[in-house]
Assembly symmetry: C2
Homo-oligomer: 216 residues x 2
């Protein structure tokens, strides 16, 4: 009763706090996707969450902090998915690359709402160092791991002309650019087509390890 009573109380309390924070972050995501970063207000967010106006300041101190934690949330989610792939011992090198390509264009990562949030923050990044710091961090993870994977493939095949670091740069730039296209002109570019573009790229760099997409 004595000692055991303390811990549940603390956990229950902090758990509920974390739940509220997540609830507000989710609401923020939704609002940014619908209205854009610049015209999302505290009233929008709290209404979307079904809570009262003062709640954000109670849990996040300020709007700016909430926005930062929202970006961090999306970045963390993406990063975790990738780390699961990178650390999966059952996958060989090319399977890992394929897994990342699938992941990068999976429903979890690229619904238009999440894309809108990414680009909303990227748009403000130059003016706000905190935003670019968060973005740069995940960029680094991808660059390091992909370079290592490509380097492995290079040793495994006949790929004298390949520069692994540059190929990794190209891959991330390619996916970022395709995401942008999916956001801006979804009528012109479908997810299926975007996948084909990535597959083309991988095949052109490592023809011994990736298949040529079915339709030319």
């Amino acid at each position: 009763m004595h000692t055991s009573a303390i811990k549940p109380a603390i956990t229950a309390r902090s758990a509920s706090k974390q739940a509220r924070r997540n609830q507000l972050i989710k609401a923020t995501l939704h609002c940014i996707a619908r209205k854009g970063l610049s015209s999302t207000t505290m009233a929008d967010i709290t209404q979307q969450a079904g809570l009262s106006l003062g709640i954000v300041n109670l849990h996040f101190v300020s709007k700016e902090r909430l926005l930062i934690e929202t970006l961090q949330y999306v970045a963390d989610e993406y990063q975790q998915g990738l780390e699961t792939i990178y650390s999966d011992q059952t996958l060989n090198v090319s399977a890992k690359i394929r897994a990342q390509a699938n992941y990068d264009f999976s429903k979890k990562i690229i619904n238009r709402d999440k894309l809108a949030v990414w680009f909303a923050f990227w748009g403000e990044a130059k003016a706000r160092p905190t935003y670019s710091a968060i973005c740069a961090e995940y960029d680094d993870l991808v660059a390091r791991n992909l370079t290592a994977l490509f380097d492995n493939l290079k040793r495994a095949g006949d790929y004298d002309n390949i520069n692994p670091a540059r190929a990794a740069r190209a891959y991330t730039a390619l996916t970022d650019g395709l995401w942008l296209d999916l956001l801006i002109s979804p009528r012109k570019l479908s997810v299926t087509k975007a996948r084909e573009v990535v597959n083309d790229f991988l095949f052109s760099q490592f023809p011994q390890h990736f298949k040529l997409p079915t339709t030319i």
Copy 2:
């Protein structure tokens, strides 16, 4: 005296009006790059231009209109440069592609201020159809022309595996992504490196028409 006096007066007047508009657009560009789209105010813009507070409403009716015309200005500038290349009769197909690649990473196009402006608007694009319409328009121009150029190369060489439309998509996505990288982490990616990535890509797609970059 009679008839000749009318014309100069009109031109002088309208020229001065256009000059004021351009002055304000330039100031807007500068402010967005420094402070971000969301925290650029009318006071910022007019101060930057060295003019009075009411001037924007006089020349552009509203802030929103000024922003739209600012985006249009940057988009037009980019588009004009490209059209000059596409219509240059002295260049053959691969020279045109090389010219575009040079142009896309020239000082005129990618100073960080202009990149910041592009991405600021892209960030708001989902929530504001007017923005995405302007962006989509230039996207289309590039897609059509590059596809045609790649198609030409395909006929000229031994490129059975190439899908010209997809290669064009890949090129634009690649450059968009590299621009983003240059904006977010300029410490990690230099313009020189970005150019190498693009050259690698062109070589990998059309090895008979582009040179392998010097350093692997």
